[in-house]
Amino acid sequence: MDLNLKVWRQAGPDAPGRFETYAMRGVSEDMSFLELFDVLNEQLEGRGEEPVAFDHDCREGICGSCAMMIGGRAHGPETGTATCQLHLRKLVDGDTIAVEPWRAAGFPIIKDLAVDRAAFDRIVEAGGYITAPTGSARDANEILVPKEAADAAMDAAACIGCGACVAACPNGAAQLFTAAKYSHLSLLPQGQPERYTRVVALVEETERWFGSCTNHGECEKACPKEISIDFIALLNRDYVKAQLKNRALTGQKR
């Protein structure tokens, strides 16, 4: 099949960017979108041009590295799919497709389609963990977790930190990411001791980098793991609860 790629090219963080159009002729419809870029880069290198910089790693939808705005949608038109799992057969033969990097103040462009998502690390450092002694593994079933709680926590823990929620959000908010990181800990017994300290730390750190949630719901549709905005409601409610709880009596830091 044939596709015309309109790719954002930008030499560096402060360099001016522009769209460059590349005609891809006779590519296999069974290729993934990243493989299409591999083909493009081979052609570019063959012509002695600079290949397109883009992030990728596992190419099986679990690492969260690939990040492209494809035809105005984060990770392209297919729902519940990261760019690496988007196959060309899902696109229309002969189409012209614009490919852009994520755009957000918290995700500065490094080069072409590659952005720096270190802000997500800052958020996890602020509260996306539990404080527990490391060492040998504890006995299985020492802490009983109901199946339902484990399932709900897993739905949130499915977050791969790709940043599609920020990219898709009209406000550039990272609420879905933060809510997922908050919820997968706070739905389990191990997450309770730091629950209210965590929610405040996470919210305040998130807002150093990203916008505010106005409940458009775009993030949920863009998320390759289809994480629900129900978790954002949990984050919002617990943030208010954390203001009211006597945290000293729950053994938590203020």
Binding site: G72, I110, R208, W209, C213, T214, H216, E218
Partner: protein
């Protein structure tokens, strides 16, 4: 849980590939000094501001509904309508002196409007700063609808309309036929002017779109989320918006078309 020092992870790996370049891309940390007072600290976060927006919005929804129900007495005739206007002033008697409760409600309403607008303005600034460079190709929205994406504009239209509405029917500056203490005739005289009727109709359409998103969004901001009820939240917002739109638009429409007269 203390805040870690704000450095890129690349910095920890001294001499690693491109370490200093990566540190540069992350950019300097945005200094945020949070206020010490718990109320101010809550307000300093966007989640806190959205909570205030939701609660003030809920108060404003209550006002909009009560205001419409009261004004629909227009269809019961002059004496009913004017009696209702007087009753508003008498409300709270004999426990409170006349108009004291009305003024209490007015002050609450002004506070709700003020907080709603200030929070909206500050959140808008935050959001503009969060994406300084817009997408350069066409964005294909999936979930965001017309109502959710025009909240700022419908909000501004409604706020400007409220000022006009007060000048028209409370203070009388925008209504040459205004007679203090004669609400029924004032309303009819005002709505009989075609441009004024159009202003009322357009502003109430904007209000309906604002409510369609706001009355749903409110539940999320407050964290009122339960899969058993989540579908109802959408119906609630749509019904509320439709009721307000139909009720409020019917009045200028029926007056300007001559169905309701003095």
């Amino acid at each position: 849980m203390t805040h870690t020092q704000e450095v890129s992870t690349a910095d920890h790996r001294g001499g690693a590939d491109d370490a200093d370049r990566l540190a540069r891309y992350t950019g300097p940390p945005i200094p945020v000094r949070r206020p010490r007072h718990p109320v101010l600290r809550f307000w300093s976060t966007a989640v806190g501001k959205k909570w205030v927006m939701a609660l003030s919005g809920l108060a404003l929804l209550g006002f909009v509904l009560a205001h419409m129900v009261g004004n629909l007495k227009l269809y019961l005739g002059e004496s009913h309508f004017n009696e209702y206007a007087e009753w508003l002033r008498d409300l709270g008697e004999p426990a409170l002196p006349r108009t004291v409760l009305l003024w209490g409600m007015r002050l609450g309403l002004i506070a709700a409007f003020g907080l709603h607008i200030v929070a909206a303005a500050q959140l808008t600034r935050i959001n503009h700063k969060a994406r300084p460079v817009q997408y350069q190709s066409h964005r294909d929205y999936v979930a965001a609808n017309f109502a959710s994406r025009t909240m700022r504009w419908t909000g501004v239209i409604v706020a400007l309309f409220v000022l006009f509405h007060l000048a028209d029917l409370t203070w009388g500056n925008a209504n040459p036929d205004f007679v203090p203490g004669d609400p029924y005739d004032n309303v009819i005289a005002s709505f009989q002017r075609v441009p004024v009727a159009i202003i009322y109709i357009v502003a109430n359409l904007a209000l309906a779109f604002h409510i369609f998103h706001g009355a749903w969004s409110m539940f999320q901001s407050l964290g009122w989320n339960n899969p058993r009820w989540n579908a109802v939240r959408r119906y609630f917002a749509a019904t509320f918006a439709a009721v307000i739109a139909i009720g409020n638009i019917s009045m200028p429409l029926l007056v300007v078309t001559g169905v309701v007269t003095k």
